[in-house]
Structure formats: C-alpha cells, structure tokens
C-alpha cells in the first residue's frame, strides 16, 4: 500500500516535491511570523504547523534567517501583484491611483490582518538584522517607484508620489493598531484632495 505514488526515477522527481514542500513551509512560516512576530515563532512550532520535519526543513533552507528572508521576498511578490491587479482594473489615471487605497481597504478587512509585514519586521529586526532592513527598504522603495509611475500618468509633479506613499503607510499602521479598515477610506479621501490639488496647480 505504500507504493501507490511517484514510481518514477527519483533523481529528478524529488525536485518537484522539494519545491512543493518549500512552498508549504514558507506558507506556514509566513502565517506564523505575521501573526506572532518572527522571534515569537520557534522552529519547532513551524515544524508542527507545516508538518515538515526539522531535518527536512533544514535541508530546504540553511537557517531560520533564510526562511525569514524568503517569506519577506514572497510577501513582496504578492503585494506587488495585488496592487498591480487592483490598479489594472481601472483605466482612468486618477482612478488607477485611488485603486491603491481600495486595495488597502479590502486587505484591512481580512480577519487576520495585522499591518504591513515589512513594517512589523523592520520594527522587530531592522535594528539587528541588516538583511531584513535591506529587504524592507527595497520593498518600500519599490512601492514609491511604482506610485511615481502612476502619478506620472496624470502629469502630476514628482512631489505627489511620496505624499501618497506616506498616506498608504500611515493607513496600514493605523489600521493595524486600531483594528479598523476606516484608515483606508480616510487615506483615500486625503489622496483625492492631494491629487486634485496637484493637478489644478499643474
């Protein structure tokens, strides 16, 4: 009864399994780290949650730090994708910009929402882990550059993008701490004013 699956050559078939396991491990790690903080989750807890033995975890990743790094990089990919998808649904440049805040609003209503994982990680580890600090910095830089592209679409001055970014960051932390999705709407309303003001002064 143990021969039912994967009777192929094991040399190359293990790689696909490995990738699936890696993915499962990262998913569990992401969920745990996000909910309880990186240092609040031990490798044993990750083992239990993922169902992957410690030995295997350490064959998939060289260290916990590497898992943290991969989790953050995965979050970066998902965030970038999510924002881009939300923006792509709109055609008018102004609406495309505001779509960012609608994306935030729907994210904030997820029941396990606990703020921006990058801000959280920076607060916890930014002072002691240069690698984490670097990843967070480049994530935020990426977002600013993305906003710059969107503001350029409407011909707004370059000073608008950082202001809109600050609104987004503030909405994330405020929503996390207050436990409400309202900051997304408040930030959106503020963004409208800033955008319109920038456009009228163009």
């Amino acid at each position: 009864m143990t021969k039912a699956t994967a009777p192929l050559t094991k040399g190359s078939s293990g790689s696909a399994d490995e990738e699936a396991l890696r993915e499962a491990a990262l998913e569990a790690a992401d969920r745990l780290f996000y909910a309880k903080g990186v240092q609040g989750v031990g490798m044993d807890e990750l083992r239990t949650a993922s169902g992957i033995s410690l030995k295997r975890l350490y064959r998939l990743f060289p260290s916990k730090d590497a898992i943290v790094e991969q989790v953050l990089l995965g979050r970066h990919r998902k965030w970038t994708e999510g924002v881009a998808t939300a923006v792509a649904r709109e055609t008018q440049p102004r609406e495309r910009l505001l779509a960012v805040y609608d994306f935030l609003a729907s994210w904030f209503t997820e029941e396990d929402f606990r703020g921006c994982a990058f801000i959280n990680s920076f607060g916890e580890l930014g002072g002691t882990s240069p690698r984490v600090a670097e990843i967070v910095r480049s994530h935020k830089d990426d977002f600013q550059k993305y906003l710059s592209g969107l503001t350029a679409e409407i011909g707004a001055p370059p000073s608008l993008a950082p202001q809109l970014a600050i609104l987004a960051e503030g909405a994330q932390t405020t929503a996390a701490i207050s436990g409400s999705a309202e900051p997304a709407r408040q930030a959106r309303a503020a963004a409208e004013v800033l955008i319109d003001s920038a456009l009228s002064r163009r």
Copy 2:
C-alpha cells in the same frame, strides 16, 4: 531637570534612591529596546548597560514585561510633552497644526532614530501581548484626540484629524525605513493642502 534635595514627603528613606534607580533602569531599557527590539535585549544586557544588579532590577520591577510596559508609558509621556511643547510655540491655529510635522522633522534627524517605538513594539509584540497592544492602541488614540482638538481650533470638519494622523504615522514609518527626515517635510506639505482644502470647503 534640576532637583536640589530629596523631598521628605515623597516617601520613606531610601525611596528617593529607588526612584532614581528605577529611572536609570528605564532609561537604559528604553534605549536598548528601541535600538534592538524588546526581544533582542536580554535582562543580562540591561543589567550591564544600567549597572544595576539583576537582584535589584527584580526588586524595582516584577518582570521584564513590567519594564516594557513602563518604558512605553514613559515614551508616551515624553511624546505627548514634546508635541505639546512644539505646538505651544505657535499661536495661529494653522501653524499650531503644522508644528506637529516640524516636531517630527527634528525628531527624525536624531541619529539613533529608528521609527515610532509604539509601532515597532506593536509589530513585534502586538500579536502576542495584549497589554502591549492595548498601550499602543491607547497611545495612538490619544494622539488622534489631540489632533482633533487642534483641528477644532480652526473649525475644520472632524474628518481632517484622522487624515493628518495618518500622514504623521506614515511619515514616521517612512522616515524610519528610508533613514531620511524628508518624509516629515513631505507630510507637512500634504497636511497644508489638506488643511487649506478643509478650510475652503468649510
């Protein structure tokens, strides 16, 4: 602070010393926690940094958690004071509001600036420590209420205060991560637009 002599009415003999020690311990704890995260600092490190023996530390405070709590409450006092002082220097209501962002700007240039301790603590411990989450929440709530008072001075609609708060929060995290004080000026510029827009629509 210049205190000449220990007041007799403050407490029994030895209490003044204890209070000074408690203050010194909290000062060291604040500096270390802020720089390296709460969980990144052990009690042994706090002992070394403060020069206060473990035995004494545990007579001054019942646990590390209590120290964390006191550090946060102390930060809250200092923040509230600092903002109020900066605001009090201005007389015109609009300038009083903007003084908040000038206060941020000068804070951001401090060399050991590493963001808002409350946001950082929330990211690290908010998911596991209800007490920390509560303190952070009430600190941010306090700030919002303070801003509400300032916006009421200029007769702006109540919707303005949360927007200005979001700008301040975003400026703090963005400045921390980017390592620049620029976000304070950007937030200030955005606040001006929001304030003037709110006033013209009044």
